[in-house]
Symmetry: C2
């Protein structure tokens, strides 16, 4: 069989996506939007109502149309909860989204012990349960959980290497499955992703719709990670190692004798250590990026000079990325990215000097979700996965 009820599944999913992306509406509107008859739209809504995913309201459609108004149906936001967990270097960040992918709760748990896999994974289930309990949510409504990892992780849950946690070859999926021990009839769907990819997804989230453009997210903490979104999908490359722009070399010498493998990488020129090194060199008394930002904003000349060099270097990386990927937006997130806010226009101008040949240069902006970007993004990823008709006998339907 081509899936027991393939056509039905496709059409129900189309209804859900329509309500998600374009808002509540009447059955007749659904019929028009999906190009099905009103009878079919009614039948689809009826079975979704029966499954509890959709609610019929008393409200009639407000449209200024002639004729009998319809009864508006909408997503039952409380019927499903999607959880995202970001395993950061010093704390666990958990968010819960409702069926509309709206943020309903978040919780941050600092590590009090060394961040071993067992310790950190042990925090997840209690943390999720506490978060849900605090907001009157039920664990039963959680059908999927996403996990963001600061390192190389396969989407099915094998952490290959997470340098800042010093984790290697950890089968985190098995650990989490064991912690939650769900019955196999109603499994907890798990998804794993790199933190920069998750951050990129969090920005791609756009008014309950899919962002169809191309977006790049620089996650600047100690190092520099990069998440790439193309047509709403994460660009992973071969083996999922795409986005290692931190290892790019943009400061090579044209001289024949120079050993360019010894030239500094992008990360070594704009990462946290590079900023602090510039401070020491310029006599700026700062031991963290936020201090540099505070000094620069207070008008400190030295800190301002550090920013200028940093901005010029960053702009080269941004421009090189822009010529290769042509993203519509480049988003800067992470603690070191706070430097950007000192003078956004400066970074823009520097980058644009390298992009004069382009018709439209990308906009460069700060992350809109701050510290929760990764956990939100990975929760959003599972939300989207569960909403599409994924993988029906090899057919990849995402409507």
């Amino acid at each position: 069989m081509a899936a027991p009820r393939l056509l039905r599944t496709i059409n129900e999913t189309r209804v859900l996506n329509l309500l998600l992306e374009r808002g509540p509406r009447s059955r007749a509107d659904i019929a028009r939007d999906l190009q099905v008859t009103r009878s079919t739209a009614s039948a689809l809504v009826a079975s979704l109502v029966e499954r509890g995913l959709v609610l019929e309201t008393e409200e009639t459609s407000t449209a200024e149309r002639i004729g009998r108004p319809g009864f508006v149906v909408k997503l039952n936001r409380a019927s499903r909860t999607y959880v995202g967990v970001d395993i950061a270097v010093s704390e666990l960040r958990i968010v819960a989204l409702d069926m509309q992918a709206d943020l309903i709760a978040s919780l941050t748990i600092p590590y009090t012990d060394p961040a071993t896999p067992d310790y950190v994974v042990g925090l997840i289930r209690p943390g999720v349960e506490q978060l849900l309990a605090d907001h009157g949510l039920d664990m039963d409504a959680v059908e999927a959980l996403g996990v963001a990892i600061p390192g190389l992780v396969e989407t099915d849950g094998l952490i290959v290497f997470a340098p800042n946690l010093n984790w290697r070859s950890i089968d985190i999926k098995a650990m989490i499955e064991q912690a939650f021990d769900r019955p196999s009839e109603r499994p907890l769907h798990l998804h794993f992703d790199n933190d920069a990819n998750a951050c990129a997804l969090s920005e791609g989230y756009d008014q309950h719709g899919r962002n169809a453009g191309t977006l790049a997210y620089f996650l600047m903490e100690i190092g520099v990670g990069l998440g790439i979104l193309h047509e709403g999908q994460v660009f992973r490359g071969f083996e999922g190692v795409a986005g290692e722009i931190g290892h790019g070399r943009f400061f090579c010498s044209l001289g024949d004798e120079q050993d360019n493998a010894a030239t500094p990488t992008f990360e070594e020129t704009v990462g946290r250590e590079a900023v602090l090194r510039l401070c020491r060199k310029g006599g700026v008394e700062a031991s963290s990026v936020s201090e540099v930002v505070a000094l620069a904003e207070a008008g400190d000349e030295g800190a301002r000079g550090v920013f200028d060099v940093w901005a010029r270097r960053l702009a080269i990386g941004v421009a090189n990325l822009a010529v290769i990927l042509n993203p519509s937006e480049i988003v800067l997130g992470g603690k070191t990215a706070a430097m950007f806010s000192i003078d956004p226009k400066r970074v823009h101008d520097e980058a644009n000097r390298h992009l004069r040949f382009m018709f439209k240069t990308p906009t460069i902006r700060a992350s809109s979700r701050g510290v929760l970007a990764a956990s939100f993004g990975v929760a959003y990823a599972v939300h989207r996965q569960r909403f599409g008709v994924a993988d029906v006998h090899g057919l990849s339907l995402t409507a």
Copy 2:
């Protein structure tokens, strides 16, 4: 309606794709492979046979299986023809593919007049007709035509700017439609793409199957273009300008005073002019890339030195691309890429010096289709488009 016969269309397409990707087989095999019943497989084959797309053979399945052997069915290769046209700077290159995307004919037409849009487009229909006639093919079997352009072109046929042809804002789709004036019942489906993207697609073509990896194609002629393939799809970026790595700046200075917008671009360091400049500087008597290659292969020390510098520079671009995209393969094509063949290992080694942190570095190799890469790629693109159930009411099925 969700397409008049959506399920049927999906399943017929699945049969066609199965026969394309995994070869001829019996109805019973089809049923197993597609997870449908034998009755359904029979019905699907029957309607495809009726439409002339599939042939039933006398041959029984050779499998060493017990029981009654089945009758093998296969694609009717001659039933459809897909044409690709590459508008190069000095000549038109045309290829024809059969229903299996196998190359059946090609033709190159040098321009004898200045390459104005009218002149060049005027060559297309006669060229295609001659090519088909020479190989006993019928224009009626051509259902789609793809066109590759050396410049920025929208996939629906507006050439924004093609610098080496000096074409701007040309609605080439309208011109070609007019030249072929097909009846609207049986339109000629047209597709347009950048030449580097088309080249990338030609390499992604892999044994009648979709190449699911990530591949980057450097098209090195006068400048350097780049085509990116991700999961078998062309990566276009926002506004289709992705792949302008030629404008990347990898030779910047860390010094605070330097104006990096004045540093040479990647194209200016490894493009044709750069090679010739290195020759002049090194006292190598060569006025074309092929002469440099010939000299180097004949053991000329100076030419060898030019190659060394070129290889070192190219490796930096290759490595920077590799860290951002993590492609499984990087393919070098175009006339200037002939330099690569002087010593492929050298380029590999140079690039890998920058990629020591990676588990698996990409393989770097020369283009496998030479001068026909772009025309083949764009023909392959239309073949794939016509084979999938594309865009059924917003459902994007590619199975």
